[in-house]
């Protein structure tokens, strides 16, 4: 990222400036490249302009005044990072971005916790796929007299008492995989809707 660094007369000022910018970079590291540049340019510009008109005696005091007013990068950037991450996650549907976005937003309301559990619920299907691989005869989607009974495992003892029909057969795993994908997109779409509604 090419952003012109501010020049200082004293090395101490330069070091403070560098460390501040480094903290900003670290906080916004997970954002899309373009957003990172935007934030850095704006911070850099604000610091530079502030230095041009400060009236303190020394350069270092001027710099500290400007930085104090700007605030702690980790604090002031948190809402922006949380929102941008959510925007990116719901745009790309990338699971890694979604996990990160939910983590950043978890303190912003109960609904994000609910979304977290909705995503967690997808692992239920993953579990079923493994269960099917391990125990192909007892795991499936079972019907009795034409109505749905259970998705999961029915032991042979229970099945010997009443008649249960497994309806998916070899399609069980593909159907579970498809369910994961469909639910994943549905939940993520809801998350996207939630973010848009937040803005209103």
């Amino acid at each position: 990222m090419k952003i012109k660094e501010i020049e200082f007369k004293e090395t101490a000022s330069k070091r403070i400036y560098n460390s501040y910018i480094k903290r900003v970079r670290k906080v916004i590291k997970s954002l899309p490249h373009q957003d990172q540049i935007e934030v850095l340019l704006e911070f850099n510009s604000h610091i530079y302009e502030g230095l041009q008109r400060q009236k303190s005696e020394t350069e270092i005091d001027n710099l500290l005044d400007v930085l104090d007013k700007l605030g702690i990068p980790e604090e002031v950037l948190k809402p922006l990072v949380a929102d941008k991450k959510l925007e990116q996650a719901t745009k790309t549907f990338n699971p890694l971005h979604i996990i990160k976005a939910l983590m950043l937003n978890i303190t912003n309301g109960i609904s994000y916790l609910i979304f977290f559990f909705l995503y967690l619920f997808l692992f239920g299907f993953v579990y079923l796929i493994f269960a099917k691989l391990v125990n192909p005869n007892e795991v499936g989607l079972f019907f009795q007299n034409g109505s749905f009974v259970v998705i999961g495992k029915l032991s042979s003892e229970i099945r010997s008492i009443a008649v249960f029909t497994e309806v998916l057969g070899n399609w069980f795993i593909p159907v579970m995989l498809l369910s994961i994908i469909v639910f994943y997109f549905m939940i993520t779409y809801l998350l996207k809707l939630k973010r848009i509604l937040n803005k209103k």
């Binding site: 012109k4 704006e42 510009s45 302009e49 502030g50 700007l70 605030g71 002031v76 803005k199």
Partner: protein, 111 residues
């Protein structure tokens, strides 16, 4: 008499009218961040913190009331200038008319 109550009320009023103030200051100008904050202070004596100002500008941009543009400088450190969009201008006119109605009513009841 009740000073803390009045002070609390004042800060609520300031908070509630901040967007109106910011849009008005920008009405016929364009400012970059640092200058904008200074200008608001100069014109209204409202001291708006950086931590309030920048998120507010981001929100106004998202609402498309304000747009921004990076302008290269001789120093090599560009400035980001903010201006009102057409929607911003129209919105401001509506806000102004509401503000006038409100202040008329308040004058009437407070004499």
């Amino acid at each position: 008499m009740n000073e803390t109550f009045v002070n609390k009320w004042k800060s609520q009023v300031k908070k509630g009218t901040l967007t109106f103030v910011v849009l008005n200051v920008l009405r016929e100008n364009k400012f970059y961040g640092y200058e904008f904050i200074e200008e608001i202070k100069k014109l209204t004596e409202i001291e708006i913190a950086e931590g309030t100002f920048y998120p507010l500008m981001n929100r106004l941009k998202k609402e498309e009331l304000v747009s921004s543009e990076w302008v290269e400088q001789e120093s090599g450190i560009p400035r980001k200038y903010y201006v009102l969009t057409e929607t911003g201008k129209e919105t401001l006119i509506q806000m102004q008319s509401y503000w006038e109605d409100l202040s008329k009513s308040i004058k009437k009841i407070s004499k």
